[in-house]
């Protein structure tokens, strides 16, 4: 008997030691198909940041970040398959999942909540999941579509010389006919009523490489502005079609999924002057990107085959997603034990209490690279500001400061929508005052 006890006492620290100090992150993206530029760029940036962190700091407080790639083809069923494949990998399972597609995000909400794995959708996904009381495991961080939309209308107001000047203006809303594209229709309608502008919604079917009839509709409507909610090949096609019908590109305002180099370069000169929203900046001159160059690319270990894509919008977005990922783990370690791999449940706490202020951004080498982030149980969005940039034919030029969103419009809509979801699913919203 004594021997058994002794053996088990000895075995416990041995077991603890045997558990490798690794934090596993699934990298589910798409390297083929019409949306490959987005998937490969973001995935590459994310992995490169992890590599840099492992090489420079030895991981997060000594816990190495590990990952595995999985091809989703931007399809829901493959996305679910990837999630299921990778959720148990690593010593503590998947840290969190970036579904990298609004459709896949929807499919994973229930599964992630059941498996206690946070679903992090930065700049996409289900908007009303910003209400953390109903969606404890879903984090549409930085800015959701509705917030972005209010910032866009604010920006148009600025350009027109004041919000009151919006009255009587006409805005055409050209959207990708998918869950992603349709997400902002209600808020645009609401804002149209509030500010007195007229809006028309024009759908472009997936993948969007044929838009002649849609731009004919745009021309008939004679809009002052066009809001482009495109994705992938739809964007350059829209810009070329706009050039054909003679609509000024300086009056086209794109969503951030329509605002990367890959969206404008194929359109050539037709893209000059086109404006888009963004929640991260482009450029390789940020400190964090320089660090990646130094620790990863200088050793020839970089993820991107085409090195010129390092510092592009999508690449930097991947770096930003990686920063949020590792910072959430770091935060979780503060509470659950430094230098230990965190489980999904612990990372959820880390995400919910995540606060990346200007000081921390500076330490990360990301000041000006992204906006500060402060998440809470009530607010799973945490940021909400948007910058606008214009394509000058060679690169993106930032033309605005961080423009904050109008939460007085967005928040009630989110809460109403989340409450309806909670009712449908029979979820009792959490009481945030009891969370710690």
């Amino acid at each position: 008997m004594k021997r058994v006890v002794l053996a088990s006492v000895l075995a416990v620290p041995l077991l603890a030691f045997a558990q490798p100090k690794e934090q596993f992150v699934p990298v589910n993206f798409y390297w083929v198909g019409p949306y490959a530029p987005g998937g490969s760029g973001i995935g590459g940036g994310m992995i490169d940041y992890f590599k840099m962190l492992n090489a420079r700091d030895g991981g997060i407080n000594g816990v190495k970040v590990t990952w595995e790639k999985c091809e989703t083809e931007y399809r829901n069923d493959r996305g679910v398959e990837c999630y299921e494949r990778l959720k148990k990998k690593g010593p503590t399972g998947a840290t969190l999942v970036h579904p990298a597609s609004t459709g896949i995000t929807y499919s994973l909400i229930d599964k992630g909540t059941a498996d206690k794995i946070p679903i992090v959708s930065i700049g996409y996904g289900r908007t009303d999941a910003s209400d953390g009381r109903v969606f404890p495991y879903v984090f549409p961080l930085m800015t959701n579509y509705w917030s972005q939309n209010t910032a866009k209308i604010k920006f148009i107001g600025q350009r027109e010389g004041g919000m009151d000047k919006l009255k009587g203006k006409r805005i055409a809303h050209l959207y990708h006919d998918s869950a992603y594209g349709k997400e902002t229709i209600p808020i645009l309608d609401l804002q149209a009523k509030k500010y007195g502008f007229e809006v028309t919604h024009i759908a472009v079917p997936h993948p969007g490489n044929e838009q002649q009839s849609q731009w004919l509709q745009v021309r008939q409507f004679k809009p002052d502005w066009v809001i482009l909610r495109g994705w992938g090949v739809m964007n350059p096609t829209a810009l070329k079609a706009a050039a054909k019908v003679g609509f000024p590109r300086t009056k086209i305002l794109g969503v951030w999924w329509a605002g990367a180099e890959e969206d404008v370069i194929p359109a050539g000169d037709a893209a000059k002057g086109y404006i888009t929203a963004g929640f991260n900046l482009s450029g390789a001159n940020h400190v964090v990107v320089n660090e990646i160059q130094k620790y990863v690319y200088a050793k020839g270990q970089g993820e991107m085959e085409d090195k010129s894509r390092v510092g592009s919008i999508y690449y930097n977005r991947g770096v930003q997603w990686a920063i949020v990922t590792t910072e959430a783990v770091r935060k979780a370690q503060e509470r659950y034990g430094k230098g230990k791999p965190m489980t999904g449940e612990q990372v959820r706490w880390g995400l919910e209490n995540l606060s990346i202020d200007d000081k921390r951004l500076k330490e990360l080498g990301a000041s000006g690279f992204m906006q500060p982030l402060k998440v809470s149980c009530l607010d799973h969005e945490g940021g909400g500001a948007v910058k606008f940039q214009q394509w000058d034919g060679k690169q993106w030029k930032v033309i605005s400061d961080w423009i904050s969103s109008d939460q007085s419009i967005v928040r009630p809509m989110i809460e109403a929508s989340a409450a309806q979801y909670a009712k449908e699913k029979g979820i009792t919203p959490r009481d945030c005052s009891k969370e710690n």
Partner: protein
Amino acid sequence: MLYREAGQFKSTYAQDQQIFPIRQDRVAVTLFLVFAFVVVPLIGDQYWLGALITPFLIFALAALGLNILTGYAGQLSLGTAAFMAVGAFMAYNFVLRMPWLGVIPSFILAGLCAAAVGIVFGLPSLRIKGFYLAVATLACQFFVLWMLQRVGWFTNYSTSGVVTAQSIVILGVPFDTPARKYLFTLTVVAVMALLAKNLMRSETGRAFMAVRDMDVAASVIGIPMMKTKLLAFAISSFYCGVAGALHAFCYLGTVEPEAYSLDLSFRILFMVIIGGVGSILGAFLGAAFITLFPIFLNLASAWLHVFGIEISHATISNLELIIFGGLIIFFLIVEPAGLARLWQIAKEKLRLWPFPH
């Protein structure tokens, strides 16, 4: 040697008309069902059950539905995904609006809705056939998706057009884990496959095949054209509708119109062609090939690293598509009648083995 029917005498009509006339077949099928119902849920982990086998079964059911229409009744259709969409959305709406109904009646009603849509879009088949009919069914594909995207009632006025499927509870038992969802799917698929197998041996099935082989001759011997063709559309759409409902409730958990695009219709048609036109088993083989093979290729690509071959991930992803396409062509050249025919040839060889002469 083992697979031989010598000595199995049939003394009644009932014995002569069994689904599997050979005893070894009966034993094998029973063992296989026991394996699927008992052993698989025990040994399969969440990934296998939830991400591989369940979708395989669901797509097999959809392919079975299309096979009834295309393989048995000879009516080419490109609207399979649309019928699945009708099933998925109507199941959601029945559960949402009539919760007292229960899940299984909702699924059946959803299948009947799909059947009704199938009958309407099957009407052109009375006048046109072959590729022209395929084009007419394309209209169904586009119309149904357009309607689901535009009419808010179907999505319960959800802003994004995506709705979340409700949880399945039958007689107080929640079907929430992958293993339970698998069992639910398996039961539905097994029952419906059995029904299809029997249907094809009945008068209706023979009428379908007569229409497929030569519709003029079929009408001369007294098979009513309209009834037979529309019935084929109805039954096929019913199967697809139930498959769509399972797809939404047991696999993805969300219902969005975009998931049921023309792309999916083509994939199901490929399952039928590769598996074997006019064969129940073929639907399963084809579904296994089309849904599971790309994933295995994807998993296999990870082994390349073990052998120290460094290829970029984008190249591997593209390679998978190339290999997959090449294999489809290979199989069609080797056996144009599909994988089911290969299986049949193997069985015939096995009957003679080891003394072929």
